[in-house]
Structure formats: structure tokens, C-alpha cells
């Protein structure tokens, strides 16, 4: 299954800037990025290996394709590539409900949903959410986010920033809100991949921290889910294998993206020694690694 990340948000929220940085980024992943229009995509000509109408292939292994009103067809094209991509990113149109686009991640054969990232233009989001034409559309977009990036915060004063953060917390009550500028956010947060245990710094507002948890002990399913639900909002991503007390045969996969998490059946342990191994990424200052480890330990049987 290829993971799918949906990037949503209204016009001017910074989706294109983020997509440009994903395409050119040093993340070591072969991404397939599906966009509505090449028009605004700005790819360094030296990086372009081939351009055949609705697909641009980059020398770093990434491809960018246009959706042209038929997302299913575009996904099938990507899935049929000689070497399928490691990860698919779908840009939702400015008036689309990203939750609807996420259905393709959940339901299209060969794909699984990684997460829904919604961008909001810090300077304009409140006006947009009250607009006579698109107000409701924008509110739906905010509500669809697993992780909400409040972009263009460099244009705001500290007080403005605070007020829009407070407003967003009420508007999109579940999702994790991260202030940022120029969509500058570590790829590990966006795509949840390559999460190596290091502290990652991203300018200018947030600093991210990684927490690693390992134990050979089995965890109690109910208790684990209850603990996760009590974690602070600063936890943005978590991923790894879990040894559950109620299933000695299989590993289970925990995946957390912002406000949403799921625990699904993984591979059988076979020769491997069963052990839980999780990587958590969060906003520094909003998470405490000792507390999180203690929380996980208390779910052990």
C-alpha cells in the first residue's frame, strides 16, 4: 500500500509553495505529486528529466501529474508506473473538501491514507471563513485537517498570531495547529516518513522534537488507546510497531497523524523477537519526552 497525503486549503494558503518544496526537497523519497494545474508549479528546469503533457518526471525520482478532473484515472496512472512511488501527495483544489479527497486514500485500491494537511493563510483565514461565498467551504476545509498549518505567520504581530491561534483552536477543535512561514515544515511532519530520532529545527516558529520508545513488554490495547487519547496536542506524528498482549502472533502498526490515530494489524513476528518500537514527533515545549515514555510504559501489561 502506498501512503497518500492530502494537502488542502483555500486559495493563497501556500499549497503551491509547499508542493514546490516537496518536489525539490531532500527527503530521499520518490514522490508522486498530483496537482490541479502545472501553471503555478515552479520546477527548476535542470531537474526535469521528461515532460509528456500531463506528467513531469524529475531527475530525483519524483513525478508531478495533473489531475484533469479525473482523480481516479490520475491515481491509476501513477500506480501503473514502472517503479511505483514511495508516497503520493494530492493537492486538493481551493474549493474542494479535503476530507472528500482523503476518501481516495482510504478507498482506492493499492493506497492507504497517511494524513490530511490543511494550510491556512494566517493573514486572511478569519475573513475567508466569514466570506459570503466561500465561508462554509473554508470552515469544512479547516475541520478536515489532521494537521493544520497556520501559514504566513511572519506577516503577523505576536498579538495577531495569538488571536488567530485561539480562533483556530475553536474552529478546528481536534486538529493540531502549527504556526509556520513559507510552508516551512519538516518533511517528517508532512509525510511521516524517514522519522529518525533527531531533533529537527525549522524556522522560524516551531522546533520539533522526536521521542523514541522501545520495550520488549506487551501492551494492553485498551490502555494504549486511552493513553494516546490523553497525549498533549503537541504530538504531531507517531508511528511504529506495537506488541499487543491480545495478539502474540502479529505486530500491530500504530499510526498517528495530528488528531487521528489508528492501530491496525501488521505483519507476523515470525523469527523476530516481539517488541514495541515507536517514534513520536512533536512540537518542542509542548511535549515532554519523559511524560510520553511514562504514559506508554503505563500501558504495558
Amino acid at each position: 500500500m502506498i501512503p497518500v497525503t492530502v494537502i488542502g486549503g483555500y486559495l493563497g494558503a501556500g499549497k503551491t509553495t509547499m508542493i514546490n518544496s516537496l518536489l525539490a526537497g531532500d527527503h530521499g523519497l520518490r514522490l508522486a505529486v498530483l496537482v490541479n494545474d502545472f501553471g503555478a508549479i515552479n520546477i527548476d528546469a535542470r531537474l526535469i528529466a521528461a515532460h509528456d503533457g500531463d506528467t513531469i518526471s524529475l531527475s530525483n525520482g519524483c513525478v508531478c501529474c495533473t489531475i484533469a478532473d479525473a482523480l481516479g484515472e490520475a491515481l491509476d496512472k501513477v500506480l501503473a508506473m514502472a517503479v511505483p512511488p514511495d508516497h503520493i501527495v494530492i493537492e486538493a483544489s481551493g474549493v474542494a473538501n479535503p476530507a472528500k479527497i482523503a476518501m481516495y486514500g482510504r478507498g482506492w485500491p493499492g493506497l492507504c491514507l497517511d494524513g490530511v494537511i490543511v494550510l491556512a493563510d494566517g493573514d486572511n483565514i478569519q475573513a475567508q471563513a466569514a466570506d459570503k461565498f466561500v465561508g462554509h467551504t473554508v470552515q469544512l476545509q479547516l475541520a478536515a485537517a489532521d494537521i493544520l498549518l497556520l501559514n504566513k505567520t511572519d506577516l503577523l504581530t505576536g498579538a495577531q498570531n495569538q488571536s488567530v491561534m485561539t480562533w483556530l483552536a475553536a474552529e478546528a477543535s481536534d486538529s493540531r495547529v502549527i504556526p509556520t512561514s513559507f510552508g516551512a515544515i519538516p518533511f517528517t511532519i508532512l509525510l511521516g516518513a524517514g522519522g529518525l530520532p533527531q531533533t529537527i529545527h525549522a524556522e522560524p516558529h516551531a522546533t520539533y522534537q522526536t521521542v523514541v520508545f522501545r520495550t520488549p513488554r506487551a501492551l494492553d490495547r485498551e490502555r494504549l488507546l486511552a493513553r494516546i487519547a490523553s497525549w498533549p496536542r503537541g504530538v504531531l506524528r507517531a508511528k511504529g510497531l506495537v506488541r499487543l498482549g491480545d495478539d502474540p502472533v502479529h505486530a500491530h502498526v500504530l499510526q498517528l497523524v495530528g488528531c487521528r490515530h489508528e492501530l491496525s494489524l501488521g505483519p507476523a513476528w515470525r523469527e523476530e523477537v516481539p517488541a514495541t518500537q515507536l517514534v513520536l514527533i512533536g512540537i518542542e515545549g509542548q511535549i515532554d519526552s519523559d511524560c510520553l515514555r511514562a504514559s506508554l510504559l503505563s500501558a504495558c501489561i
Partner: protein, 550 residues
């Protein structure tokens, strides 16, 4: 030079206020020479060789009917399917009776199954609606046939239901369906984004070129059967322009095709991706190089505001919908404005799909801004569909010089349902508010958006002049058109919407000889009986084309 042919008739309704009725029309080649009487046109006949053709002696001649907004490609996909609609449909090859109630619906499916020869041929049906037919699911359909793939398509295309045999025929993995949050495998039901999973398996079959061309042949029959001589393809290239264009030229650009098609392309991709105005305009202008005799692109372009009316996705202003549901935008307002500006400044005539009053509001706000920036006269900015609107918007349309092309069938098919479930009586009875448009002198055409409504102009005129809903109520009598206004809206005023009023739409010397030949005079039978008038056939560019009776 060819001889003149004179057609005397029982009555000629010219739709020209300067000479509303006449007794004979003289035609040379594809042009009208004169309309009047045999005596009045004597100087022409004395000066040039002519024949008197008596075939329409007992008929009524009207200008060829025009539907400025339908969708040949959509029809080509749908017409090979079996109709199971709650309302009756008159098709050239079949009168589809109204199917009402759950049992009647199932009986209809059984009947289609029995009628189909090949026991393995998939049965695609269109027209199911839970309001009238109740719910059906996979098990119900298995009960109709265990072997034949059955696909039941919703009237408004938002769900489809299949049986076991269809799933096997599709070659779809059951597990893929079970995983999808918008597919209910146990019920065999695909909805919203789940539909694209079904299309993945159907498209190669329903868009296959032989089947698609067969569908276009049927569309050509439908268009002729309705008495049209001109139609507008109001989103040319909705599936794939090159594929559609090749099929359209192959099937319609024939000597015996009795109508022309004005091709109006979408101005940008749906979802509103593209914004580079100059590039879009250039591409749209370039389409004219394809033009053939019957199929022509002009300086018209289609843009989209809010969602579909049958799907209930129109953007409503206060007080919103009874069920609290919200509409959708097909284009972000900023993109809409940007793209509209590019076409406006390039001199295009812009048609905007607007279904709810907020959709109309967006179109008018944009038009007002463009008028302020760069005033244009005779710009023909047209609101298409016009489901829900306010009277103030109509006044504003008049002030800004906007026109209307209205789907009036909404009132007939949805008037009662939207009264009960969505809008309440006040707004549902004032959907497609033609009377207000007429009172403000806004030039208005009727369209069917076929296959959204039957492609029968006299049926559209009947709804416009009576506003009778399928449930039998008169919905908003003040919004009725007069008989004359309704007939103008399928002839000369429809020609105006397409920018072809100098060539077609009325009967006068110098215009193209396009006629619709009726067995009765609409002005004699009156508004209530318009849709019952039998049509003999048409004259297209001077050549008679009778409708073949089975």
C-alpha cells in the same frame, strides 16, 4: 442559380413582430427569399424560376427550434442505457412510461431483462430515485437476474447499485469495495467518491468508441425528434475533447444530419485549477480551427459557479436549505473572476452555470466588476440554468445587460420534491423565475440541459407557460411566461443567446431556411396543449427532413 421553392402552409408563425403570420415562404438553396403570401412574393417569382411545393399545405411552419444548452456527449453515454424514470420520456424509438413505486420499478427491470436478447449483455439502467422507487440493493437486483450484470444508475447520477453478476463482470475485487468508505459492498452500492471506483471498471465499456458513436446516432435522432435545427453543446469536450470531437464529426457532420451544433467549450478545467488567462483564451480561440459546416466554435465560452441542481449542490443564500445541507463551488470565486476577466477582455460571450442564488450572485458581482473596469455593450453575458434566484438579482441582470438561459423543467420535475425537502414552497414555486425575467425585459431562452430534461422544446415551452409540477400543482403562476414569450424562448430569443439571431430563430427574407413543421398551430391550441402538438419534421438549410415513424 437554383430555382426558388415556395412552401404554402396553413399557417406560418414567423416570430417576427413586424410580420407575425404568413401564408407562404419562398426558399432558394439554404436561404429564405421572402415570407408573405403567393401574391406578395409575386415579383420574386416572376423574375426567377420557381416551383410551388404543396407538402406543407396543411401544416404550420415555425422557425427551427433551438436548444442552446444540452450535452451531446453526456447523452451519447446515457442513451444506450435503459430508462426507468419516475416521469415519462418520449424518445424517438420508445415512449418510456412513468415508473412509480417499488414494485413497478422491479417489474420494469424484469421487463427490460426479458426484452434483452443476449443473456450476458450488461443491463445499464438510468432513472432510479428513492423518492419514487424506494431503495434497491444488491440482493434485490440478484432477484432480477443471477446471471446478467445489472447496473442501476440514480436519476441525478449520485449513486449506483449493482448485482453479483455485475461485480463479477467488472472484475472487481470484493475486498477493494469493502475497504472503501463510500462503497457498501453488502448492498452493492457506490456513492460519492466511491463512484469513481465503479467508473474505473465501467468507463472502458461505456466510453468505448463504437458504443459512444451509437449513442451519438441516438442523440441525433432525439434532436431531430424534438424539432430542433440548432443546438448548443454547452461544455464541449466534457470527457475528452479529441475523442468527442472525432466522434461528433464522424456521426454528425453528414449530409443527412438535419441540425447544426454550436460548440461552447469550458473556459477552464473544473475545480478551477488553471488561472493563466491569456493561455486559456489562446487555447479556446484555437479551437475554431476545427470548425466544420455543422459543428462550430464561436466566441462563446462556458464557466462554472456552483454545483449541480439535481444533485442538490446549488449554493443557497439565506435562509439556506430545510435539511441544513450546503452546496458546492465548482470554481473558487477568485479564479472565476480571473478567468472571466481574461475572456471578457478578449471580447468573449460568457455563459455561466449558476444553479443557486449565491451562484447567480457570484456571476453578477463579477460582471459588475468587469463592467466597471472595461465597459462593454452587447456582451451577452448569460446566466445558465437559473434554478434559485431573487427578484432583485433579475433587476440587476437587466441593469448589467445579462441574459438568461433557463432550465424550466426544474419546476416540473423538482418543484414538488424541493418544496417538500429542500427549499419550502415560496422558493420552490419561484425556481426558474421566467415571469420576472420577462417583466424586466431580460432576453431569455429555454434549455433542457439534456439529459437533465427531455430534449423537447415544446415540452419546455409548455412548462414555461403553465408551471405545472409532476405532482399536478401550478408552481408560482406569476412566474409563467405568456405563450408567445415561451415560443420566442425556443426560437428567436434562443438564437440571440447563441449570438446567431441574424441568421436563424425567425422566418424572414435573408435568414437561413430552418423550419420546424407542426401539425397544429401552437397559438390555436393554447399553452396547456403545447406539448401534445405532433411534429411532422424539420427543414434544415432548405431541405425537408420528415421524422421517421416506427
Amino acid at each position: 442559380m437554383e430555382p426558388i421553392t415556395v412552401y404554402p402552409a396553413r399557417m406560418i408563425r414567423t416570430m417576427e413582430p413586424a410580420l407575425p403570420t404568413a401564408e407562404a415562404v419562398a426558399v432558394r438553396g439554404d436561404k429564405i427569399i421572402e415570407v408573405g403570401s403567393l401574391e406578395s412574393m409575386r415579383p420574386w417569382l416572376d423574375a426567377h424560376p420557381h416551383t410551388i411545393d404543396e407538402r406543407f399545405r396543411d401544416h404550420v411552419i415555425m422557425p427551427g427550434f433551438i436548444d442552446p444548452h444540452l450535452h451531446p456527449s453526456m447523452a451519447a453515454v446515457l442513451l444506450p442505457m435503459h430508462f426507468t424514470t419516475a416521469l415519462e420520456w418520449h424518445l424517438p424509438w420508445q415512449d418510456v412510461p412513468a415508473t412509480r413505486g417499488h414494485n413497478e420499478f422491479l417489474d420494469r427491470l424484469k421487463e427490460i431483462d426479458l426484452d434483452m436478447g443476449d443473456p450476458d449483455e450488461p443491463m445499464f439502467t438510468w432513472g432510479h430515485h428513492p423518492i419514487w422507487h424506494g431503495e434497491v440493493d444488491r440482493r434485490t437486483l440478484n432477484g432480477i437476474s443471477a446471471n446478467r450484470p445489472i447496473i442501476v444508475w440514480h436519476r441525478g447520477f449520485h449513486t449506483l447499485v449493482v448485482n453479483d453478476a455485475a461485480i463479477a463482470w467488472m472484475g472487481m475485487d470484493e475486498a477493494d469495495g469493502e475497504r472503501h468508505p463510500q462503497v457498501n459492498m453488502a448492498e452493492g452500492r457506490f456513492f460519492e467518491t466511491g463512484l469513481s471506483l465503479a467508473y474505473r471498471y465501467f468507463n472502458p465499456y461505456i466510453l468505448e468508441s463504437k458504443r459512444f458513436e451509437g449513442g451519438l446516432e441516438r442523440l441525433a435522432e432525439v434532436v431531430h425528434f424534438g424539432g430542433h435545427t440548432t443546438i448548443g453543446d454547452m461544455a464541449a469536450g466534457m470527457f475528452n475533447l479529441d475523442m468527442e470531437w472525432d466522434a461528433l464529426v464522424k456521426v454528425l457532420e453528414r449530409d443527412d444530419t438535419p441540425f447544426r451544433v454550436q460548440m461552447i467549450p469550458p473556459g477552464n478545467a473544473l475545480g478551477g485549477g488553471q488561472k493563466d488567462g491569456d493561455r486559456l483564451v489562446q487555447r479556446t480561440v484555437g479551437l475554431r480551427e476545427r470548425n466544420t459546416h455543422r459543428l462550430r466554435f464561436y466566441d462563446h465560452v462556458k464557466l462554472f459557479a456552483d454545483g449541480g441542481f439535481y444533485a442538490g449542490l446549488m449554493q443557497l443564500g439565506p435562509p439556506g436549505a430545510i435539511d441544513g445541507s450546503h452546496g458546492e463551488w465548482m470554481t473558487p470565486p477568485e479564479t472565476f473572476e480571473q478567468v472571466a476577466r481574461a475572456y471578457w477582455n478578449a471580447g468573449f460571450k460568457i455563459h455561466v452555470h449558476c444553479t443557486g442564488d449565491m451562484g447567480v450572485e457570484l456571476a453578477l458581482d463579477t460582471l459588475e466588476k468587469l463592467q466597471w473596469e472595461r465597459p462593454r455593450f452587447n456582451h451577452r453575458f448569460t446566466i445558465e440554468h437559473f434554478g434559485v434566484s431573487t427578484p432583485e438579482q433579475v433587476r440587476r441582470m437587466a441593469d448589467l445587460g445579462a441574459l438568461a438561459s433557463v432550465n424550466i423543467y426544474y419546476v416540473h420535475e423538482l418543484g414538488h420534491a424541493y418544496w417538500q425537502n429542500k427549499l419550502g414552497h415560496e422558493r420552490a414555486s419561484q425556481m426558474s423565475r421566467l415571469g420576472t425575467l420577462a417583466r424586466h425585459n431580460v432576453t431569455t431562452a429555454l434549455h433542457t440541459d439534456f439529459t437533465m430534461a427531455p430534449a423537447l422544446p415544446l415540452n419546455s415551452a409548455w412548462v414555461a407557460a403553465t408551471r405545472i409540477s409532476e405532482a399536478g400543482h401550478v408552481m408560482g403562476p406569476e412566474e409563467r411566461l405568456t405563450l408567445d414569450q415561451a415560443l420566442r424562448a425556443i426560437t428567436i430569443d434562443a438564437a440571440y443567446i447563441l449570438g446567431l439571431e441574424h441568421e436563424i430563430g425567425s422566418i424572414r427574407g435573408g435568414k437561413t431556411a430552418d423550419f420546424t413543421i407542426l401539425e397544429q398551430d401552437p397559438y390555436e391550441v393554447g399553452a396547456e396543449n403545447l406539448r401534445e402538438i405532433p411534429i411532422w419534421g424539420t427543414v434544415f438549410e432548405g431541405r425537408p427532413h420528415p421524422i421517421k415513424r416506427p
